[in-house]
């Protein structure tokens, strides 16, 4: 649909903004033009629309050079949404949209053709489509930014183009209007199979809506292709000269980028003066073990409250006797939120879990091995005998452990895989401890039974300088495993002796 060949050109004849651009865009494609300010995106768009003449090379639209079209033919093929139109016409919305019919109306008697029913219907349809019919008789400059942009869109729609060019269509728009605008565009693209070329500044928005992207830098095309090229962190970082971190949208198979501010330091970058233990304030009461960290830790957890990957500052294990009215039988999640409220813990950055009964079952262990520092907090639930209920507890030969909740705090830098690795190490160490003590589990591995599983938390300082080097990984795994094994063993022994006594 659009074919750009060896395009060079700019505003002054002596200095080119664009250098040798080659680009092919298929019909029905949504292409996002990306690149830093001054990279030539707007210039390229101006040449695509024929406002600016190239010094060399060509732009072909639907097989014909853009500058060979007669103005009205061209406008019936290409519509353009300018970035913040420099003039604020004092026309009404309807009058603006009517201008979109310009290319479809004849010359000298155009004033009359505007009265034809088909023309009136088309203008009404465009206003309805862009949802601006209710502003029909309002003056353009009385509308908000988002509404104005919709009016321009309605005007473009009335033009019935096959190609739509947009220069930062969502500039200065809030989230709602940005998505609204792009949803409308996307619908248009799907329904009418129009080709869209848009300059977008939000890479994440571009990744979500565009089919492909063209990356410009200093007037040259750096890369063009599927949105997946946005996964290339080093390329994006190079083009925009910022450090980006690429992940994926949780619900869409699209890359999403994160930026980091220059000033990071909540924790010291070097290891020399840093002690992990000092960052944790552990508060033990009759009802809970509450750990607050001095700064948010990157946390990966399987817990009742605050599961998944996040940043957290508060880690709680509540002790709830089975006899208590508070014992969470049904809505444990909600119960935990209530308990947090009582302790005035900000629940949106907290991890919450619970074990049965008593506080003395918590073991805190700090361990350091060379560069690696680990703190482990293990809470165990009531151990009890085979078949024994809580009220009629009898001594028995085989003991079952109740829940074992483990929190591991690590000084280091973990990526997603490291977190998963740590989880595995913790689970293995826990089971080994249980095995070595010849304990079986009361809450598993009977998968049919509806019991709450053990909870696990890995929290990491995420100090950038601490990214695990190749040789360090096994050390970390070893230290975590050993610490967890030790702590779990002690915790189980403590509980057991408690029962025996």
């Amino acid at each position: 649909m659009i074919s750009v060949q060896n395009l060079c050109g700019g505003y002054a004849s002596t200095k080119n903004v664009l250098h040798d651009i080659n680009l092919d865009i298929q019909e029905g494609e949504f292409v996002a033009l990306l690149g830093p300010n001054g990279s030539g995106k707007s210039t390229l768009l101006k040449m695509l629309s024929g406002v600016l003449q190239p010094t060399s090379g060509s732009v072909h639209l639907a097989g014909k050079d853009v500058n060979q079209y007669r103005p009205k033919e061209r406008a019936a093929l290409v519509a353009m949404l300018e970035q913040d139109p420099p003039f604020q016409p004092t026309l009404t919305v309807e009058e603006i949209v009517q201008l979109g019919r310009y290319p479809h109306q004849g010359g000298w008697f155009a004033g009359l053709s505007g009265r034809k029913q088909t023309e009136i219907d088309m203008v009404d349809k465009a206003m309805q489509w862009a949802n601006v019919s209710q502003y029909k008789h309002h003056l353009m400059h009385h509308l908000s930014g988002g509404e104005k942009q919709r009016v321009w869109l309605a005007k473009a729609f009335a033009q019935q183009p096959r190609i739509l060019l947009l220069d930062e269509p969502t500039n200065h728009m809030d989230m709602y209007h940005t998505l609204d605008m792009l949803n409308v565009l996307k619908r248009w693209q799907k329904e009418e199979n129009i080709t869209i070329v848009a300059i977008l500044h939000h890479l994440n928005i571009a990744a979500l809506y565009a089919d492909s992207v063209a990356l410009l830098q200093d007037g040259r095309l750096q890369d063009v292709g599927d949105v997946c090229i946005l996964r290339d962190e080093s390329k994006i970082s190079e083009v925009y000269d910022v450090r980006v971190h690429t992940t994926f949208h949780p619900l869409q198979p699209k890359p999403q980028m994160f930026l980091s501010p220059e000033v990071q330091g909540m924790l010291p970058e070097s290891t020399t003066t840093f002690t992990l233990q000092d960052q944790l304030s552990i508060m033990q009461t009759d009802t809970a073990c509450h750990i607050r960290t001095s700064v948010p830790f990157r946390t990966y957890s399987v817990a009742l409250h605050g599961s998944g990957l996040q940043w957290a500052t508060d880690y709680c294990n509540f002790y709830v006797p089975k006899t208590s009215k508070l014992y969470p039988r049904h809505d444990a999640k909600h119960a935990i939120e209530e308990w947090m409220k009582e302790l005035q813990i900000p629940s949106h950055q907290a991890i919450g879990m619970w074990t049965e009964k008593h506080p003395c079952h918590t073991v805190v262990l700090h361990q350091a091995d060379g560069k690696v520092q680990v703190s482990v907090v293990v809470s165990t639930g009531e151990n009890h005998a085979e078949g024994g209920s809580f009220s009629s507890f009898k001594k028995s030969e085989t003991l079952h452990t109740g829940k074992i909740n483990i929190m591991v705090f690590i000084d280091g830098y973990f990526n997603d895989a490291d977190f998963a690795q740590a989880m595995i190490s913790i689970a293995e160490a826990k089971e080994k401890a249980r095995f070595d003590l010849q304990m079986t589990r009361s809450n598993g591995p009977n998968f049919n039974e509806e019991t709450s599983a053990d909870n696990m938390v890995v929290a990491c300082t995420q100090r950038a300088a601490m990214a695990p080097s190749e040789g360090c990984e096994w050390l970390l795994r070893k230290t975590v495993g050993e610490a967890v094994y030790e702590a779990v063993t002690r915790a189980i022994q403590k509980t057991t002796s408690n029962i025996v006594n």
Binding site: S49, V51, P85, P86, F87, P89, T90, Q159
Partner: protein, 352 residues
Amino acid sequence: MQKSFIQKYLLNKKGWIYAISGGFVLGASLLGLFISSVSYPVLDIIRVVFHHLFSIGYVEDVPRNMQLIIWEIRLPRIVLAFLVGAALSIAGAVFQALLRNPLADPYTIGISSGASLGAVIVIFFQLQWVLFGGLTLPIVAIGFGMLTLIIVLAMASLSGRNLQTETIILAGIMMSSFIGAVISLLIALSDANGLSQIVYWLMGSFRMRGWEHVQIFLPFFVVGCLLLLPFTRDMNAMALGDDGAHHVGMNVKRKKILLLSGAAILTGASVSVSGAIGFVGLVIPHFVRLLIGSNYKHIIPLSMWIGGGYLVLCDLLSRTVIVPQELPIGVITAIVGAPIFSIFLIKKRRAE
């Protein structure tokens, strides 16, 4: 249902504005016809006009000199005042649309200065009766006006792509200043008699204008209107900016030249027959905008009616205020118009 009601209301409102402005023109013309230093019976005046227009009725009992005054002096003067008022208002509206500048008026880009220079040269060198009899001055003035337009357009297109608006304005101002200086030079060099003639002419007047002036003005008026009236849609599109107009499919450069030429023809012809009358071309389009909005589909025809009617009224005042003296009409348009339109503007803006 509600929508169609609103639509009807708006249509009706526009209909009323058109009807009232039509009535305004008719009323102004009749007043201009009836009121003068010498008063005649209204019925006789109407009979004379009808007799000459449609060859009906019996006017033998009406004195010959009265017939002459009505038909040869009063009526052409009214017709010419209307046409000039209409032409200046249309031209003002077009310049404002084209240059996207609310301060633009028919004199902004120097056409009127050029026409004035032509007239001043004729007066200075006493050429009034040389070439075309009494019409030498208007013909030379129109020629100079068109020449100025060509020079301005040439300057603008030489200095940049696509006839940029700012360039046109600058070239026009340059031209105006230059020509203004030449006119001042000629004034400085003239004797007392020539001086008063030139100054009086520059202030504008319809004194001593007859059907031959209407005749020479009418073709330019028709051509100008033909070049402008069908293109109100393009004037609206100009509000999108040059690029915006390009994007909706307008041939920007060609339409600019067309509209500039149309407006320049109207301006040059007006200045040639009546001198440089100020205020009308600047303010009437704004007044119309306050009435009906910024759609040139309505601004152009309404400016034509209201501007024409307004100038007829002003001409009436200029010849009746201090009889038997006549005031320059350019004085009346502003002295009467400025307060009226200021009050209107304030009221309208406060109501918004």
